[in-house]
Symmetry: D2
Subunit: 380 residues, 4 copies
C-alpha cells in the first residue's frame, strides 16, 4: 500500500511540493526495450505547462524534465535511448516559487481548499502554494503518462474540455482537430470563442469556474480489466477522482444511463468480418463487466471551480478565530483547462497497468475473442 502511488504493474509514485526544490515520479514496472526520448515526455508536459495563455496561472515554470534512471543508450543502440526494465525516475525542478505570496494564509484556511484537512490530519502543512495539494503535482502524472503512452502502441488517447461553467459544447460540432486550436482544449470552435469572452469576465471578477473534461481512448483491445475489484472502469474512476478538484466521474452514458430503459441501454451487436462483433451503440463507454470491449473507452469527469479566488470568503484561523480569506497568489481561473492533459495521462497509466495485468494472468496479448474449442484448452 502506498498513499502516493497508483497502478500495480505499471506503478507510478509521485513526490514533491509546489514550492519545494523539485517534484517528480518513479515509474516502476515499465517493460524493457521501449524507445524513450526525454523530448517525448517534455512534449506532453508542455501541453500542461502554466502561463501559456491568459486563462491559466501566470506562474512561469519551464517544467523541464530530467530522466535520472531506467534508460540506456550506447553505440549498439545507435545512441537511441531504451527503457531497461528498471525504475524510471523523473525530476522537475521548481523555478518560479514566490513563496511570500502565501505567507498571509499560513494561519488561515482557504474555504474549499485542502488547508484545513491537511492541518487536521497531519498537524503540520507546507502551505506555500498549497504544498503537496497543489495542482503542480499533476506535472508528475503527465510525465508518467507520456511513458505509459509508449507502452500502449496502437492506442490513441485524447481529451477535451466539453463544458466550462454552465456552458457545454454542441456535440454536433465536436471535432478533435479543433482541440489544439484554442487555449481551452475545446473541440468546438464556436464554443471556444464564446468561452474566451466568458472566462475573461470570470477572471476579471476575481472569480473562478468549474468544467467537465472528456477523455477517449481508441484502439483499446478487448479484454483489459480485471473483475471484480480491478475493473477497468473502477480504476479509471479512482484515477480521475484523484486529480485535484474533481468531484464526479462517468463512464459512457454515466448518470444519464439511470434514466434509460434496458432495451435503450443495451448496445446491440452484429457479426463483424474479422470474427469480432460489431457494436451498434456505445452507451457502455467501452466497458462491460469491468472489461474493455474494444469500443472507444469514454470517460468524463467534473472539476469544481478553483478554490483560490480574489473574492473574500468567511473562514477560520488555525487557532479557531474568524477571518475573511482571499487568495492573492497566481491561480488558474479554471483549473479544468489544464486538467485535460492530466486526464489523458491518468487514462494512459490505467490502460498500461491493465495491459500488463492482462499479460500476466492470460499470458497473451489482449485481442479478438477466441472461438471456444475444447481442444484449444491447455493439456497437461
Amino acid at each position: 500500500m502506498s498513499h502516493n502511488s497508483f497502478g500495480h504493474l505499471f506503478r507510478v509514485t509521485t513526490f514533491g511540493e509546489s514550492h519545494g526544490p523539485a517534484l517528480g515520479c518513479v515509474v516502476d514496472g515499465c517493460p524493457p526495450l521501449i524507445p524513450l526520448d526525454v523530448a517525448e515526455i517534455q512534449a506532453d508536459l508542455d501541453r500542461r505547462r502554466p502561463g501559456q495563455s491568459r486563462f491559466t496561472t501566470q506562474r512561469q515554470e519551464p517544467d523541464q524534465v530530467r530522466i535520472l534512471s531506467g534508460v540506456f543508450a550506447d553505440d549498439r543502440t545507435d545512441g537511441r535511448q531504451f527503457t531497461t526494465g528498471t525504475p524510471i525516475a523523473l525530476m522537475i525542478e521548481n523555478v518560479d516559487q514566490r513563496s511570500k505570496d502565501y505567507s498571509e494564509i499560513r494561519d488561515s484556511y482557504r474555504p474549499g481548499h485542502a488547508d484545513y484537512a491537511y492541518d487536521a490530519k497531519y498537524g503540520i502543512r507546507d502551505y506555500r502554494g498549497g504544498g503537496r495539494s497543489s495542482a503542480r503535482e499533476t506535472a508528475a502524472r503527465v510525465a508518467a503518462g507520456a511513458i505509459a503512452r509508449k507502452v500502449l502502441a496502437g492506442i490513441t488517447i485524447r481529451g477535451a474540455l466539453v463544458q466550462i461553467g454552465p456552458h457545454a459544447i454542441d456535440r454536433a460540432r465536436f471535432d478533435w482537430d479543433e482541440v489544439q486550436n484554442n487555449p481551452f482544449f475545446c473541440p468546438d470552435a464556436t464554443a471556444a470563442a464564446e468561452w474566451a469572452v466568458y472566462l475573461d469576465g470570470i477572471r476579471k471578477a476575481g472569480s473562478s469556474v468549474g468544467a467537465v473534461i472528456e477523455v477517449v481512448a481508441e484502439g483499446v483491445p478487448v479484454g483489459l480489466g480485471a473483475p471484480i475489484y480491478g475493473k477497468l472502469d473502477a480504476d479509471l474512476a479512482a484515477a480521475m477522482m484523484s486529480i485535484n478538484a474533481v468531484k464526479g466521474v462517468e463512464i459512457g452514458d454515466g448518470f444519464a444511463a439511470a434514466a434509460l430503459r434496458g432495451e435503450e441501454n443495451a448496445d446491440e451487436m452484429r457479426p463483424g468480418n474479422d470474427g469480432r462483433p460489431i457494436f451498434l451503440a456505445n452507451h457502455a463507454g467501452g466497458v462491460l463487466g469491468g472489461i474493455s470491449t474494444g469500443q472507444p473507452l469514454v470517460c468524463r469527469f467534473a472539476v469544481k471551480p478553483t478554490s483560490s479566488i480574489l473574492t473574500p470568503r468567511a473562514s477560520v484561523t488555525r487557532d479557531n478565530r474568524p477571518v475573511d480569506v482571499l487568495t492573492k497568489g497566481r491561480h488558474d481561473p479554471c483549473v479544468g483547462i489544464r486538467a485535460v492533459p492530466v486526464g489523458e495521462a491518468m487514462m494512459a497509466c490505467v490502460l498500461a497497468d491493465h495491459l500488463l495485468r492482462h499479460r500476466a494472468q492470460v499470458g497473451t496479448e489482449p485481442g479478438p475473442v477466441p472461438v471456444f474449442q475444447p481442444e484449444s484448452f491447455q493439456s497437461e
Copy 2:
C-alpha cells in the same frame, strides 16, 4: 495486487459464482477485540436479499452466512464472540440455482452484459446466472460491510434510492425514516408510491430501468484519507464503480459543481465552540484534498438498467453468428434497488480501511484539528 480484493488494511477478498456451491469473502486486517455476532452480519444481508418484493428477482436465496474463522468465544468472554485479529472468512451457500434457465445463452452474448467481455478475456466463462459477474457477488460485500460497520463506532452510514428511471425524489421530502417503509429504500414516501406504479409497468413490459443511489456517512472524524493516490473520494469512486452496473459516481455536488463559481462552491467556515470550525455549506460532500473534513460524507452513484431483459435484442454467438437474445431467468427490473445496501457496505469498508490507515501513519485516532504549537512537536 489482487483482482478480487479491495481495501488495503481492512482488506476484503471475495470469491464465488452465481451458481457455484458457495460464495463468500475473507476479511483481513480487522482489529481484534471487536464483538461480532453472526446475527449482525445476517441482518445486513437480509436487507439485500432477493425475493422480498415483486420489484426484485424472485430467486429464493436465504443468504445464510457462516463465520468460518477469525472469531473466538469462551467462558472468559461470557460466551460472547470477539474478533481475534486473524482473517475472518464468511461463506454463503447457494441454494436456489436454476441453471437450466441459462443453457440457451451458453453460446450467445447478452447485449449490455459481461458475457462477451469475459469470453474475450478468459476464453471460458461460467455462464450460469452470469457466473462471477452476477450481482450475487455483492452479498459478500454486504457481509464484509457489516464487519466494517463494527469497526466504525460512532459513524452512521445510510443509503437511499433518489432516482429511478427518469423519476427523482423531491429533496424537500427527504426523510431517512421513510427508507425502510417501502421496497425501494426511497426516502420520499410520495415518490415511493409513484415508483411502485411505474416499476410495475416496467416489469410487466419485460423491460428494466436505471437508478441513482445516495449514500451518506455522518459522524466521520476529520482526517480520514491519504493524498495523493489514496484519497478518500478516489477510493469511494473506485468502490462504487466496482459495483455491478454502476456508470457514474459523484461526491458532494458532483457534476453540478462544474457549473458553479468559486465563491458559490467554497464552503465557508466559522469558529465552533469545540475548537473545530463549523462549515456553513457542504458542496464538497465532506472531503477536501482527499481528506475528510468532519462534515457528512455524501456520495451518489448511477446504476444502468438491468441488461437481462425479456425484450429481444440483436447480438452475436460465440462463433460470430447473428442471434436475437432475450433473457428468461429471474432478474431485478431495477438492480439499483438492491444496490442501496451494497453502496452502504462499500462506503463502510472504505472508511474502515482509511481509519486503519490513519492510525498507522498518524499514530492517533483522527479527530479535531490540533492547534499548532511548536513544543507539541515530537522531540528527539
Copy 3:
C-alpha cells in the same frame, strides 16, 4: 497489504484456526483454461496429512478439500474442469478437534510457542490447538501449491529432509527416488533407517527435534525474478521463513559461501549448443542478481524443534504468575517432516507468482537469452 496473503499476481490468502469449523484459502490471479481436478489438490494434501506414521501427530484429519469457486465444466469441456480466471476458493473442514486437551494451557504460555506473542499483540487468542499459529494452516498452503504446480508446466519441484536433529544425510547417497520410501521424505535410505531409531527415542522421551529441508526446482526458465525488492531469492526467503518454526533459509551454498573465495564461488560458464550458456557449477543455487539462471533452484530451510513437548518447562501465566508447562496434546516429534511438502508448495507459489510477473513486464514467456540485435528493439 494483507497479513494473510502471499504472492502478488498468483496471490494466496489463507484463513482458519486449528480448531475452528474450517480452514482454507482463496487463490486469486490464476490463469484461465488450466485443467484442475480436485483429486490433484487432494494428492498433495495427502502427503502433508497428519497421522500417517508414528512420527507425526496422531490427530486424524482427512483434510478433504472442496473447491468452492473458480472452476467450470460443462459438456463442451467433456466434463473436464478448467480454471476460469476467477478466484479459486478451497475449503477443508476440521474434523478431529479435541479442544479439551488444551483447556489447561488457556492461561499459560508454552515456551517457544506463539502463545505469549499473540496475547501480547491482540489481547485475545484462540488457544485451542494453537489457533491460527497451528501448523494446520499449512494445509491451505499445500492446496494452493497444488494449483501453482499446474501453472508451472515443465517445472519439477521436489523436497527432501536432509537433516534431523544433528544427523545429516550423506549427500553421496542422495536419491530422489528414496524420498517416498520412508516416513521422513529422506533421500538417503541408510539415514532413514537410522533416523527411525533416533526419532523413536526422541518421541518416547516426550521430546522433539529440529530438521533441515531442501527444496529443488528443476526446469526453471531463465529470467524469473524481479530486482531489486522482488528478487526471486528474497521472495523464497520470506516464503520459507513464514512456515511455522522455520529459523533460517539458504539459497545455493548459503552460509557456506561466506567462507569461499571469489574464484571458488564463481559459477563458470561455457557456451552451450542451444545458444544458452552451460554452467560448470551451481554455488549460486540457480539465482544471480535475484533472477533465475536456468540452473536448478536450490533452497534449504531450518526448522526448530516442536515447542509442544511433554517435558515441563518454566513459564508464566497470563496474569504473570510462575507455572511449569508441559503440552499433552497430540504433536509431531519433528514438525520438520511434514514441512517438506509445505516447502515445495511455497516454492511452487513463488515461482508461479514470478512467472506471471515476468509475463507482465517482459510480455513474453521467460526463456533463453536473446542475442542482442539492435533491429530487434521495438520500433515506434
Copy 4:
C-alpha cells in the same frame, strides 16, 4: 506490487543505476511531525560510503544526499525541519563514474554476477558498473533506514561483521564498542587485527571473500509482526536476502536450532516485576509465531565473495562464444563489510513498517501484554 519498493506502510521505493546521473528513493507513509535533518541521513550514509579504507572500493563518491520533498520548516518551528506526512524523496548524484573501465565487459558475462540474468530477462542492460545490480543501490537503502530510525524512538539497531571468509569472531570478546574502531565493523578487536592481515592477502591476490553479518535490535516492543504472511522474521528474511550477494538468513539460533531438542530450544520465562515475563534465553532471536517478544531481535546473513575479481574465470559472451573474464574496475575485496550499515538500515525499515502496521490493526502502541479482562473488551 512494485519490484523496486519494500515495506507496506513505511514504504521505500529506490531508483538509480551505478553510473547514471543519480540514485535515490522515495519514502512514503512516514508519520508527520518527526524532526528530520539532512545531516542525520548523511551520517548513516557516511558509514556505508566507499573509499574509506584500503579494504573497500577506491571509487570516490561523496554520497551527498539531498531532500527533495516531504519536510518543512518555518519560523514557527524555529527553523527546525519536520516531516509532513507527504512522500520524502532523497537524491544522491553519482560523481566518480569511470564507465570506460567496464567497456570490455559490455559483451561478456562476469561469472557469479547478475550480467547474464539481466540480459536474459530484459534483453538489455546498463552494464556500466553493474547498472541497477550494483551495490551502489544500497546507498538509497541506508538513506531510507536513517529515516526509519527516527520513527523507531527507543529502539537501538546495531550491526557487526562476525565472520570474514572462514574466520569467525570469538563471541566471548564481542564488544559493540569495538565496532567503530576498525574498518570491518568487527566487534572483536583481536579478530579485527587478524582480519586486516588476511584481507590484505586476499586483496593483493586479486581475489575476494565472503562474510557473515549480525544485526541486533534492542528495545523492540512486544507485538510487532503480523502472522501469517507478514511475520516479522519473514519480512526480515526477505529484506536481508534482497541485499546484493546475500545467500542465507538466520533468526536467533538459525540453522543451529535444527540440531537442538525441544527442551533445549524452548526459551523459558519467569514473571517480571513490570507485569511482563522475563525470558531466560533467546534461542528464538526475539520472535515467536512471527511476532516480536520484546527480547533482542537477532538476525544474521551470509554474503558471498565479490564476483568482480582480477582472477580470470571461464565465461561466455552475449553471442555465446567462450571468453575468459576478469574485472578490472574498482571493487570491494569483501562486499560484506559495507553490508553492515545496509543490514541495519533494512532492519530499521522492516521495524518501522511493522510499527505502523501494528498501530493500524491494534490501534495502540505495541507494549506489555494486557492482562485479559472481559470488561476491557470494546463494548458496542
